[in-house]
C-alpha cells in the first residue's frame, strides 16, 4: 500500500470520476448551495469533514462487527444512522463554536444527512474492499472533487446571474446545462491520472 | 484617442452684438446658488453685483449687460428644478458700473478677496468657485500649480485662443499665483497640438526660476485633473483626498487670465470666449458673448444653423450636455456650443455587450466599465463599491470606444447615484 496507489485513488476520485460531475452523486446540495463562493466552500469543507468522520466510524464497524457476524446486509441502516448522528453532532458544534459559518450553512447542514455523496463514499469504500487508509484517502479525494466542482460551479453561477435565459429555462434548467458543459470539461482528464502516476 | 477636429483654432474671437435680453441664473457654479440682491425693474450696468455669495463655496454673480431687470424666475422650465434666475432687457449702451476700480493686491488675503470678488469659477467645465479652492488649510505644502491649457475635448479652442491672444494676462496670473501661494514650481501644461500657444508661453518662461511649460501628447482625457497631476508629477490622488493633499493645484488657463484681468481692470467675469462649431453651423468660429446670452444669438451670429440640425450640445462632444432648446443661456462654464446634423447627431442603438475589454483597457482611472454595467443592471451595490465606480470621472472614453455602442457613460453616472443611495 505504498504511496503511489494512494495518490492514484485520491486523484481519480477527485478528477477522473469526479463524484458530482461524472458519477452524479450529491447533485442536490451541489445545485442548491453553490450560489455564492462563501456558502459553496463552507458546505464543501463540511462535506469533506463529515465524509472523513463517517469513513473513520463506519469502516471499523463493518469490518470488525458486521462482516464477521455475517450481518453485512445491515450496513445500510447502520451507515445511515451514523451519518445522521454525525451530521447532527457537526451542526450542534458549529452552532456553538462557529455561529458565522452556521448562519451561512445552517439550512444546508440537515441536508447532508440525506446527501447521496456521503453514503455513497462509505458504501464504495466497503464494496471496493479498500483498506482503512485507502478508504480514508478515497473519501478525501471524493471530498476534494466535490469542493473543486462546487467552487468552479459557484463561479459559473455568479456569471449566470448576468445571463438572461428564456423564461422557462431560468433557475434549475440553465444551471443543469452549465453543469453539463462543466462535466464536459472534466472529460479531458480521463487517462491522465493512470499514465501520470501509473 | 478621440479625433481633435480643432477647426476654429485659427479664428480670433469676435464679439457678438449685444443681445436684446440676457438670462443669468444664480447658480452657474458647483456649490450653493448666490443670493439675489436686485428686484424687478431695477436698472443695472455691466459688472454690477446682482447676486452675492451665500456661503463659503459660492461665487458672486454680476450683470453682463446694462439695462432693466424684466423678470425673476424661481424654477428652471426645462428641468423643473428650483433655480433663481434673472432676465435683463439690455439697453445696448453697455455702460460700465461706476464702481469698477482696479484693485492692486499686496498680500495673500487681498489676493483671495480679489479672486472671490471677480466672480471667477473653474472655467474648464467643473465650475468650482476658485477662491475657496485657492484658500489652503494651514500647513499644506504646495509643490505644484498646474495651469491647465490641455483642452483635450474635440472642437473646443477657447482656451487656446485665450493663451494666444491674452498671453500677458495668463502670464501675469501665473506670476500672481506663484507670488502669493508660493508653490515650488508653476507648470503650464499644453497639448502638443497648440504650437502657437506653446511657443508664446515658452518665450515668457525662459529663464524664470520655477516656471516652465510642459508639453503633453494630445490624448483625450489629458486635461482631466487627476490624469494631468499623474502625467505631469507622477503623483496619484488617493480616493476621497483632494488634489491639495498631494501638494498640487490644477487651475484652468482662462481662469488665471480672468483673475489677472480683474486685478488689472477691475472688470469681473461678465463675458466669455465660446467656440461655436459642429457639422450644422454654417461658419464655425470663436465668439465673445456676455454671460446669459441665449445660444440662439451665438448661432445666428455664426451664419445660423443648417436645416438638418438634430442635436445642440453645451460644452464638448465627449462630456457636454445635449439640450432640447435654443433658449438655454451661455453660463460661466460654457466653453463651447456645438450643433450636429444628420449622421453625427444620430444616437446609435446599442446592441449586446460582447465583453471585448476595450473599455477596460482604455479607462484612464483603471476602472472596469463592463463589469460595472453588469453590476448596475443587477442593482448589486456591494459590487459597485468594490469596483470603485465613485472614482469614475465621466470622461466618456468607455462609451466612445464601445463597439456595441452601449451608453456606458450614463450607466456610470446612474451607478454613482445608486451607490450614494439616491
Amino acid at each position: 500500500m505504498e504511496f503511489r496507489t494512494l495518490i492514484i485513488i485520491m486523484m481519480s476520485a477527485a478528477l477522473v470520476n469526479n463524484f458530482v460531475l461524472i458519477q452524479f452523486l450529491g447533485i442536490c446540495p451541489f445545485l442548491g448551495v453553490s450560489k455564492q463562493l462563501k456558502s459553496a466552500t463552507g458546505m464543501s469543507i463540511a462535506v469533506i469533514f463529515v465524509m472523513l468522520l463517517a469513513t473513520a466510524v463506519t469502516w471499523p464497524i463493518t469490518i470488525f462487527l458486521l462482516q464477521p457476524n455475517g450481518i453485512g446486509f445491515l450496513q445500510t441502516i447502520v451507515f445511515v444512522l451514523t451519518i445522521a448522528a454525525l451530521v447532527q453532532l457537526v451542526e450542534i458544534t458549529l452552532k456553538r463554536f462557529m455561529p458565522a459559518l452556521y448562519s451561512v450553512l445552517g439550512v444546508y447542514l440537515p441536508l447532508m444527512a440525506t446527501n447521496c455523496a456521503i453514503l455513497a463514499v462509505v458504501l464504495l469504500n466497503i464494496n471496493n474492499e479498500h483498506s482503512f487508509v485507502e478508504s480514508l484517502v478515497n473519501s478525501l479525494g471524493a471530498g476534494l472533487g466535490f469542493l473543486l466542482a462546487m467552487v468552479i460551479f459557484s463561479g459559473i453561477q455568479e456569471h449566470l446571474e448576468n445571463a438572461d435565459p428564456p423564461a422557462c429555462m431560468r433557475g434549475l434548467p440553465i444551471a443543469l446545462f452549465s453543469v453539463a458543459i462543466l462535466s464536459l470539461a472534466f472529460f479531458g482528464f480521463t487517462g491522465v491520472v493512470e499514465n501520470l502516476f501509473g | 484617442m478621440a479625433p481633435h477636429r480643432k477647426h476654429t483654432a485659427g479664428c480670433t474671437p469676435l464679439a457678438i452684438p449685444v443681445p436684446a435680453e440676457v438670462h443669468i441664473p444664480m447658480s452657474m457654479h458647483s456649490g450653493a446658488p448666490a443670493n439675489l440682491i436686485v428686484g424687478v425693474g431695477d436698472s443695472v450696468t455691466v459688472g454690477q453685483l446682482i447676486g452675492e455669495a451665500a456661503t463659503r463655496v459660492c461665487s458672486p454673480v454680476h450683470a453682463s449687460v446694462s439695462g432693466q431687470i424684466k423678470r425673476i424666475d424661481t424654477y428652471d422650465p426645462l428641468t423643473g428644478a428650483p433655480a433663481v434666475s434673472v432676465r435683463i432687457a439690455s439697453d445696448g449702451e453697455q455702460t460700465l458700473w461706476e464702481g469698477l476700480t482696479p484693485s492692486p493686491v499686496t498680500n495673500l488675503a487681498e489676493f483671495l478677496a480679489a479672486v472671490q470678488a471677480s466672480g471667477v469659477v473653474g472655467l474648464g467645465g467643473a465650475g468650482y468657485p476658485t477662491a475657496p479652492k485657492l484658500t489652503l488649510k494651514e500647513g499644506t505644502k504646495l509643490d505644484y500649480i498646474l495651469i491647465n491649457g490641455a483642452e483635450c475635448e474635440p472642437y473646443i479652442t477657447s482656451d487656446t485662443r485665450t493663451m494666444v491672444d491674452h498671453t500677458a494676462d495668463v502670464w501675469a496670473g501665473a506670476l500672481l499665483l506663484k507670488e502669493y501661494l508660493g508653490p515650488k514650481n508653476v507648470v503650464i501644461c499644453i497639448e502638443n497640438n497648440k504650437p502657437e500657444a506653446i511657443q508664446k508661453l515658452e518665450a515668457l518662461c525662459a529663464g524664470v526660476q520655477g516656471m516652465r511649460v510642459h508639453v503633453l501628447p494630445s490624448l483625450y482625457p489629458q486635461g482631466e485633473r487627476k490624469v494631468l497631476v499623474y502625467n505631469v508629477t507622477g503623483r496619484i490622488v488617493p480616493e476621497g483626498a483632494r488634489l491639495t493633499d498631494v501638494g498640487c493645484i490644477v487651475i484652468n488657463c482662462t481662469t488665471v487670465a480672468v483673475i489677472a484681468q480683474y486685478i488689472r481692470t477691475g472688470l469681473p467675469l461678465v463675458s466669455r470666449c465660446v467656440t461655436v462649431d459642429g457639422s450644422a453651423v454654417k461658419h464655425p468660429q470663436n465668439v465673445i458673448a456676455p454671460i446669459g446670452t441665449p445660444i440662439r444669438n451665438l448661432f445666428e451670429f455664426c451664419g445660423g444653423l443648417k436645416d438638418d440640425v438634430k442635436k445642440i450640445i453645451l460644452g464638448g462632444p465627449m462630456m457636454g450636455a445635449a439640450v432640447p432648446s435654443l433658449d438655454v443661456p451661455v453660463v460661466k462654464v460654457t466653453s463651447a456650443i456645438l450643433a450636429l446634423s444628420g449622421r453625427d447627431a444620430e444616437a446609435p442603438t446599442p446592441s449586446a455587450c460582447i465583453k471585448c475589454g476595450r473599455c477596460v483597457a482604455q479607462c484612464p482611472m483603471n476602472l472596469m466599465p463592463s463589469f460595472i454595467e453588469d453590476a448596475f443592471e443587477r442593482k448589486k451595490v456591494e459590487l459597485l463599491r468594490t469596483h470603485k465606480v465613485n472614482l469614475c470621472v465621466e470622461c466618456g472614453c468607455c462609451a466612445y470606444l464601445c463597439p456595441s455602442k452601449r451608453p456606458l457613460a450614463q450607466v456610470m453616472t446612474l451607478s454613482k447615484k445608486l451607490l450614494w443611495g439616491e
Partner: protein
Amino acid sequence: MTRMIVSFAPHIRERVTTSRIMLDVIIALCPAFIAAVLIFGPRAALVTGVCVASCVFFEWAYQKLLKKTITVGDFSAVITGMLLAFNLPVGIPLWQAIFGSGVAIILVKQLFGGIGKNFANPAITARIVMFISFPAAMATWAPIPVDAISSATPLELIQRGDLAALPGMWDMFIGTRMGSLGETSALALLIGGIYLLARRVITWHIPVAFIGTVFVLTALLGIQPTFQLFAGGLLLGAIFMATDYPTSPQTRTGRIIFGIGCGVLTVIIRAWGAYPEGVSFAILFMNVLVPFINKLTMTKPLGGIKKKP
C-alpha cells in the same frame, strides 16, 4: 421647430461596430479556409458551408421563436460555424456537423442569452460534444479521395510511438498533413493571426502565452517542442478560439494567466491523457475558470484604497 435629439455624453463614437470586428475575424479565417479547400478538396468547402448555414439558421430560428431581436447581422454565428467546421475532419457526415452547429449555437450560446452572455466557447464545446458522441467519425481523417497521406494525425502517431511516420517540418508548416479542416495549415493561421493583431481585434497576450507555455513545457518534457507547435489544433485554438471575447478574461494579466493555464492543460493531456489532442479540453476548462480569473485580476483603480471590510 425641429425636435432635437437628446442623449447622454459622449455624442461622437468610434466608427468600429460589433459586425465590423466580426467581419475582420471572418477575413482572418479566409486564408485557413482556402488552405483547407486546397489540401482536403472541395468537400472542405461543403462542410464549412453546411456548418455556417446551420449555425445562422439555428440562431435566426431561436430568436424568431422567442421573439427576440434578430442579431444574425453581427456575423457572430458565421464565425462560430466556420470555427466549428475547421475543427472537424473533412469526412465528417453532414448530419453530425449540423447537430454540432445546433449544440454550439443553441445549447452553448443562445440559451444563456445570446452574444456576450455565454461562458463557454460555442465552437470548442460543440467539438468536444461531437468528439465524444461520434468517436469513430471524428477520428477518420482521410478525405474521401484517399491519397498518399497516412490516415493518422501527427499527435496520434506520437501517442502510438512510431515517430518514423511523422511528416516533415515543411509539411507541418504548409499543412499538407492529416488533421481537421482548419488546423493543419500553420502558415494560413499565422497570416490570419497577424491580420487580427494588426486590426487590434485581439491582443497578443493569449496566443503568445498559450503557444509559449506549450513550447516551454514540451521542451522540458523533451517531446519534440517545435513539432508540437504545428501539430494538433494548437495554432487554431490559440489564435481564434481562446481569444473569443465573452469567454476570455478582459484584463491583460487575466489574459496571460488564461493563456498559461490553457498551455499547461494542453501539455498535460497531450503527454498523459487518453485523448491525443488536449487543446479543446484545455480551453473549455479555462473558460470555466474565467469568472475567477476576472475576479482575481481586477485592475487597481487609480488612487483606489483597499478599504478594510
